[in-house]
C-alpha cells in the first residue's frame, strides 16, 4: 500500500466564505494526503465542512489559501481532465431525462459511442438494482431509488476518483448494507480512489481504509484513523473487536468535536 502514488494532497488549506454578516470560516489548516486506491471517509458534525472539502478536491470551490493538488495537477485541471465522478448530497437528477438518460448524460458529454453508452447504462443500473427502471422519470421513483440512480450516474464513466457526499443517507439499513457491499466490491476490483462523506460511524468504519474525523467551525481535521481491517470485508466483520474499537475511537473523536462548540 505504501508504494502507491499520492493522488490528492492538501496542505494548509483554508477556506472562508464571505457572507454579508461576516466571513464563515469553513476550513482551517487542513492537511491531508490520499493515495491511489484509498477509501477515505469523512465524518463530523453537520456544518463542519465535509462537503466543502470534497468540493475543493473536485475544483468546485477554490480555497482561500493553501495548496491542493490532484494527480499533480490543480483540481481545476483535473476536473477538465474528467478525473472525477461526484455523487452529490441530494440526487440532483435532471427531471427532463429518464433514469437511463440521466446516466447517459456524462457519457454523451464525454463522447462515448452509442453502443458503449447503452452497454454501460445497463451495467450500472444492474449494479444499483435499478434494472427495469431505465425508462422511468426521476419523479416516478422513491427518494432512495433516485439516490441510487445518481450513484449509477457517477459510476458510469469510470472516473479514477469517486467523490460521494452522503450517498446512502435516505436508504434503509438493508439496502444500505447491500450497497455498501457492492461499493466495496467495485472498489476492490477497480482500485478507484474514493472520498466518502457519511454521518454513520459503522458505515465509515466498514468501508474505509482511512477515516477523517472533522470538528465544526472552523472545520479542522481532528483525527485521521488508518483502518487495519483487511480489504475483503464480509458484513459480519462489524461484530469483530477490531471494528468496535475503531468505531469507539471515531465516536470519541466526534464527541470531542461537539464539546468544543
Amino acid at each position: 500500500m505504501l508504494s502507491q502514488p499520492t493522488i490528492i494532497n492538501a496542505q494548509g488549506l483554508n477556506l472562508t466564505f464571505e457572507t454579508n454578516d461576516g466571513p464563515v470560516h469553513a476550513l482551517k489548516g487542513v492537511n491531508l494526503e490520499i493515495k491511489k486506491g484509498d477509501f477515505v471517509s469523512f465524518i463530523g458534525p453537520s456544518g463542519c465542512g465535509k462537503t466543502t472539502f470534497l468540493r475543493c478536491i473536485a475544483g468546485l470551490e477554490t480555497p482561500t489559501s493553501g495548496a491542493i493538488t490532484v494527480n499533480g495537477m490543480t483540481p481545476d485541471e483535473a476536473r477538465r481532465a474528467r478525473a472525477y465522478g461526484y455523487v452529490f448530497q441530494a440526487a440532483g437528477l435532471y427531471p427532463w431525462r429518464t433514469i437511463g438518460g440521466n446516466i447517459k448524460l456524462p457519457l454523451e458529454i464525454m463522447g462515448f459511442s452509442k453502443s458503449e453508452q447503452a452497454e454501460r447504462v445497463g451495467r450500472v443500473l444492474e449494479l444499483v438494482d435499478l434494472a427495469g427502471f431505465e425508462k422511468k422519470f426521476p419523479w416516478q421513483l422513491s427518494g432512495g431509488m433516485q439516490q441510487r440512480a445518481s450513484i449509477a450516474r457517477a459510476l458510469a464513466f469510470d472516473a479514477d476518483i469517486l467523490l460521494m457526499d452522503e450517498p446512502f443517507g435516505a436508504l434503509d439499513e438493508i439496502v444500505r448494507d447491500h450497497l455498501n457491499e457492492q461499493l466495496l466490491k467495485l472498489w476492490a476490483r477497480t482500485e478507484k480512489t474514493i472520498g466518502f462523506v457519511t454521518h454513520s460511524i459503522p458505515e465509515a468504519v466498514y468501508l474505509s481504509t482511512k477515516i477523517v474525523v472533522m470538528s465544526p467551525r472552523p472545520g479542522r481535521i481532528t483525527d485521521v484513523i488508518e483502518s487495519p481491517l483487511p480489504k475483503e470485508r464480509p458484513l459480519d466483520i462489524r461484530d469483530s473487536a477490531e471494528f468496535i474499537e475503531i468505531a469507539h475511537r471515531v465516536r470519541d473523536g466526534l464527541r470531542a468535536g461537539h464539546d468544543d462548540v
Binding site: 472525477y84 441530494a90 440532483g92 435532471y94 431525462r97 448524460l105 458529454i109
Partner: protein, 285 residues
C-alpha cells in the same frame, strides 16, 4: 322594467352557476368532458345574460348588439372574416411572432454568455417593453408602409421583450447542483447549454411564448388602426365602428378571441409535451 331585467339576468346567472358548481364538485369533475363543459356553460351563461339584458333594456344595436345578431353576422360574413383573418393573423401576427421570437431567442442566448450583457439588456428591455403600442404603431406604419409588414414589425417588437426576458431568466434557472454536475464532467459551453440550460429554461420560455400570443394578436389588430390596406381585422373593426356596424365589430372580436385562445391553447399544449417533467405540469390540483 329595469328591475325585471336585472332580476332575470341574476336568475340566469344563478342557474348557470348552480349547474357548474354541481358539475365541478360532482364525482365526475376530473373527466375531460366536464373540464370542457364547465367553461362552456360559463360562457353560455354570460351570453344569455347579455342577450337578455340587451333585449329587456332595449339597448340600441349601435351601442351593443345582442349575441344572436353577432352570430348571424358571423355566419353570413365568413368569407370576409376569413380574408381579414388571413391578412391580420397569418401575415401580420404570425410573421411578427415568428421573427420576434427567433430574435428574442438569439439575443437571449447571446446575452447569456456574459453576465455583463445580461445585466445591461434586461433593464433596457424592460424599458422598451413599456413603449405603448399607440405610440409605436404609427411610427412603424410611417417607416414600413400600410401593408402587413408594418404590422409584423409592431408584433415583433411587442413579443420580443417578454420572450427575451423569460428566456434569459430561464437559462439561469438551474440549481447550483445541476451546474456543478456539469462542471465535474468538465462540460464546455455548448453541452451545458443544450443538455442543461435550454431544457431547464423551457418552462420559462413557454411562459413567454404564451404571453406573447395574446400580445401578437392585439398588436397586429391595433396597428391596423393607424393605416392599412382595405382588408384586415383592425381595418374592419375601425371602419365598421364608423359605419355603426357593431355586429361586424363583434364578429371580428369573436374571430380574435377564437384565434387567440387557439394559439394560446396550442402553445400550452406544446408546453405540456415539452415540459412534461415540470412539477406544474405533473400534478393537477
Amino acid at each position: 322594467m329595469t328591475w325585471v331585467a336585472i332580476i332575470g339576468a341574476l336568475a340566469i346567472w344563478a342557474v348557470g352557476w348552480f349547474i357548474n358548481t354541481r358539475l365541478a364538485n360532482g364525482p365526475k369533475s376530473d373527466a375531460r368532458l366536464v373540464g370542457l363543459l364547465v367553461p362552456i356553460i360559463f360562457g353560455l351563461t354570460l351570453l344569455l345574460m347579455w342577450e337578455w339584458l340587451v333585449r329587456m333594456l332595449e339597448v340600441n344595436a349601435v351601442i351593443l348588439p345582442p349575441p344572436s345578431a353577432i352570430g348571424v353576422r358571423f355566419v353570413s360574413e365568413l368569407p370576409r372574416l376569413w380574408a381579414d383573418f388571413e391578412q391580420t393573423i397569418i401575415k401580420g401576427a404570425m410573421t411578427g411572432y415568428f421573427f420576434g421570437a427567433v430574435a428574442a431567442f438569439a439575443v437571449a442566448i447571446l446575452a447569456d454568455r456574459s453576465d455583463f450583457l445580461t445585466r445591461g439588456i434586461l433593464p433596457v428591455g424592460g424599458f422598451m417593453a413599456a413603449l405603448p403600442i399607440v405610440g409605436t404603431a404609427p411610427i412603424f406604419v410611417k417607416w414600413l408602409g400600410s401593408g402587413w409588414e408594418s404590422k409584423a414589425a409592431v408584433v415583433g417588437v411587442m413579443v420580443f421583450f417578454p420572450i427575451l426576458v423569460n428566456t434569459v431568466a430561464g437559462l439561469r434557472d438551474t440549481t447550483a447542483m445541476q451546474r456543478d454536475l456539469m462542471r465535474t464532467y468538465g462540460a464546455g459551453y455548448w453541452p451545458s447549454l443544450f443538455k442543461l440550460r435550454l431544457p431547464a429554461a423551457m418552462p420559462f420560455i413557454f411562459n413567454g411564448l404564451k404571453i406573447a400570443t395574446t400580445l401578437a394578436l392585439i398588436g397586429a389588430i391595433v396597428a391596423e388602426f393607424f393605416g392599412s390596406p382595405t382588408v384586415g381585422m383592425g381595418f374592419r373593426i375601425s371602419t365598421s365602428v364608423g359605419q355603426l356596424a357593431l355586429d361586424m365589430v363583434w364578429a371580428e372580436i369573436v374571430v380574435a378571441a377564437i384565434a387567440g385562445s387557439t394559439l394560446y391553447g396550442l402553445m400550452a399544449w406544446i408546453e405540456g409535451r415539452v415540459t412534461f417533467w415540470h412539477p406544474s405540469q405533473r400534478k393537477q390540483l
